[in-house]
Symmetry: C2
Subunit: 422 residues, 2 copies
């Protein structure tokens, strides 16, 4: 086996642990210098490949690479950029191959969600056709937890932990003030299409009556009357009501709540997040004082409260990707296989990219309670292990000491530039 | 000295560490059983005293009391309820004294902000007049950090740490995506009147160009053009712009941004948080893709990322309150006295309540940079020690294992009820 260089890119929304996958990949690749030469990272993801902006990771110290394990976000930059199909935009694929050829790149590692796995799959099919053999390995990542064939997606467990911790803490706050102040608290969380993150809020409740009292899932059509009745009932029983709402919740007209908004006294549309819409609705119907929070990027960047399980799995996925490549595999993605629930045990599996691409894993119906406002014991059994364990970053001067890499690009070899318009 | 019982109440918005003060007070009182009999806690703060709903803390185990040190929110309930002046509502004061007399309560400990210190001060003046001698001690607490005569207020340091950690993490996220996605991120933080919390966001920046790039303080009148120019300049220089906005920021017409809102294409007012208003404004002017977050209660309940300095000081304030009472003091509040900056050293001081009541400590002008968008080195020197150290709670099943007390009320002794309408 001759030595070839590797290309690694981060894709789509970044997470608290995508750099842990990078860490696993880079540390493992360095142990196999006989097979993998240099690992080049794409600056800002696949754009770095298209524009021949390749970061030489061999210039980073072992210490800095190790620090990626506890540094959130995308250390090399990521992007939202989906390659079109080969038929639609052959130029892009030819350009990628030209860049890879110019830099003796024989391994392609793509760390992302469904679209990225699809791109990786297509590249694996096209590389031979385009005259440059390429080993193509996907590495799973998505806070939305929507990839199939893997127990879960690295990135999700840490968001899940953040959301569960946050609603537990805010719930205690509201409970202690509800006698004279806020009675309804709404936390908006990510998840445009699937309710995995919202469901994770349900882990905060140890017993009947604990917050969150209501979870609004994108899988369940929002019915205003039923919701308002549940809020009133909860405040009557417990004195307050904590709600987790997914940004993806839709009303019966199939509009996002946040888009549809509510109307003020003058009939004007009030726009804002789903949390605000829901809170205003409760206020208008019941008069309860409310507060609302929108976690937004805080939830997916919250490395300070990452799940140890998630960090370990993210690292393992990066490591396994290199091992699969060295074993001669292509068009595959390492997966997490759950072998036992309590105590949770898992091992590394492999999925064919053709089976991963374009399949979106939604929250199963039996994970949601019959009333549509909570999670079932089966759902908890699935989710709980994913938030287990803490993995604190080191602190300096009171703050997490995250690493910034040098990120030095190699010299371009091609004479042509690639016009890229974001 | 004869044994008398004590009354303890939590007042106003709760914090991540107000229970640490309760812990310090209760543990210390238990060590002085010869002087302090039982400690009764007011259920939902002062309302518990008015309604004779007194929680017998002696029924709580030593273990549970110790767990208060790492449990956020108000373990006995708090309230937003300000006693009127003696002239306006003599009945309330008479009722308090009647309840205290009936239960042999000779110590009054009130854990709160400026209003609570004012109430404590008035009670100390009135108790003799109303025929029941009462030792009255205030315990400082406010995330707003607006009490005078103390280096800082317990509760603030932990919010400060939360905000600084959050903007550092979200800033990394935005930086890694800015090439093709979000260019402007806005985090809204608490602080209606004073910019201490917003200022704490500035601690996240280690060097020129680090997030946050812009801080909007309530002390500085918001000037739209100047702000928009700064955003454009920042995106030009760094590729993205992270903003911390205080909920209390006002426009030149002295309206809160969130109230004034912006207008959509149809001239309709768009209501929402200050973060949304600011983000929409940037989008309209520059077209940048934005994201925004509102931390709301998450920031003041975030015990999982509390500052160790804050926890230690909160505990020390509760302990000192008991020691002051035993030493025969009244109408005082323990304070934090900074004796050295680097390394930070502090000791316990004492302030007269008459000097504390109704004085609001604002962010000094020299703590804000000349352009009005950042903090000065002097500000950082003041703030930095307050976020130092981590003090993680214990975890069970992936979540912080916060304590719920038994909170058993004692039998009422009075024949009359007190009508209380929140």
């Amino acid at each position: 086996m001759t030595t070839k260089n590797a290309f690694y890119a981060q894709s789509g929304g970044v997470t608290a642990v995508i750099n842990a996958s990078a860490c696993g990949l880079l540390e493992t690749a360095r142990q196999h210098a006989d097979k993998i030469g240099k690992v080049y990272a794409g600056r800002n993801g696949i754009i770095g490949a298209l524009t021949e902006d390749l970061i030489d990771t061999s210039l980073e110290s072992f210490e800095d690479i190790a620090a990626l394990r506890y540094t959130p976000s995308g250390a090399f930059g990521s992007c939202r950029y989906k390659l079109k199909s080969f038929e639609e935009n052959r130029t892009e694929y030819e350009r990628l191959i030209a860049v890879f050829k110019a830099h003796n790149i024989g391994y392609f590692f793509y760390n992302g969600g469904g679209d990225s796995q699809d791109t990786t799959h297509r590249l694996s099919q096209l590389s031979e056709l385009l005259g440059h053999e390429l080993c193509c390995i996907g590495i799973p990542k998505t806070v939305d937890n929507d990839l199939p064939l893997t127990d879960n997606c690295p990135g999700f467990g840490s968001v899940a932990k953040y959301v569960a911790v946050s609603i537990r803490e805010a719930g205690l706050d509201v409970a202690s003030m509800a006698r004279t102040s806020t009675k309804v608290f709404v936390l908006e969380v990510m998840g445009r299409h699937a309710g995995w993150i919202a469901a994770a809020g349900g882990l905060a409740a140890d017993k009947e009556g604990d917050p969150p009292h209501i979870i609004l899932f994108p899988e369940i059509v929002f019915k205003q009357e039923k919701f308002l009745a549940k809020v009133e009932d909860t405040v009557g029983k417990h004195g307050y009501c904590c709600i987790v709402v997914s940004e993806g919740v839709k009303n019966p007209d199939d509009e996002f709540l946040a888009e549809a908004g509510t109307r003020d006294a003058f009939g004007h549309a009030q726009l804002g997040g789903a949390a605000l819409v829901v809170a205003e609705m409760v206020k208008a119907a019941h008069g309860y004082k409310y507060h609302w929070a929108v976690a937004d990027y805080l939830q997916r960047a919250a490395r300070h409260i990452a799940s140890k399980t998630d960090v370990d799995q993210a690292y393992a996925m990066g490591k396994a990707a290199v091992e699969l490549a060295i074993a001669g595999k292509t068009a595959v993605m390492p997966t997490i296989v759950r072998t036992r629930n309590n105590p949770y045990q898992w091992e590394i599996g492999v999925a064919e990219l053709k089976d991963v691409a374009n399949v979106e894993q939604k929250l199963p119906a039996h994970y949601i309670t019959d009333d549509g406002f909570g999670i079932t014991p089966e759902c908890e059994e699935y989710l709980r292990p994913l938030i287990m364990g803490e993995d604190y970053p080191p602190y300096t001067n009171g703050l997490p000491n995250y690493v910034s890499l040098k990120n030095i690009s190699i010299k371009k070899a091609l004479k042509t530039a690639f016009e890229f318009e974001p």
